[in-house]
Amino acid sequence: MLMIKTFTSTNSVNHCTEQPGLSDPDLLESIDATYYESIKPEMDKLVRDPSDETIAKILSYSKTM
């Protein structure tokens, strides 16, 4: 599958620099914004928190300073 990129990638996946097919920048922006809104709920499910142990270590370090 062809991916759009603007710079040389350090990934092993081979990406091409093909431009998007749409020529109207406003249309592209509106599609991007609409698409982004549609995937936001799924992206929000990927959030993570550090462990309590890590937080405790940071707080402990601060107290020793």
């Binding site: 990129k5 959030v47 601060s62 300073m65």
Partner: protein, 195 residues
Amino acid sequence: MKTPIKLQLHSDQDLVKFYLSGDESVLEELLRRHKTKIYTSIYLLVKDQYLAEDIFQDAFIKVINTLRSGRYNEEGKFLPWVLRIAHNLVIDYFRKEKRTPVITSSDGTDVLGMLQILEESAEDRLLREQTHADLRTMIHLLPDEQKEVLIMRHYADLSFKEIADLTDVSINTALGRMRYALSNLRKMMKVKEVS
């Protein structure tokens, strides 16, 4: 010492001032306020929970050391500053990974490469075994610079100006990378739907 509820009413800049004046409790509030954004950003870049924990911890140790040494720039925003520290630590990690020496066996096999495959984390194994069906995999497949902007924009809630400053590019470049990231995600989603 201020009560936790009252601490929530203060800005990050105020909390930093309180911390520097000796109020340890504010660090807990700063962590509570920003830990999800910072940790998620690190985690999605390095793809390993334990590594992300280490980098997160190292970032805040640097934060504490800089604050204590009086080198913190009060005009800057706290969250972008911490994210820049974390971002640099992630870059340092990837640079060290690339410098990992290669030891080859008599048949030319990269021994250390094989060890890395055998020692892959449980999360890497899950990702490898899954189809290209879930969003996290697709984000990981994005070119690094696009993945970085997407993560900083969505999870760290940085402005494009802040992202541009953090990654040392122009705002237009940051915007372009975000647009290409979304376009590539959309393409991968279509491939998934077709398959």
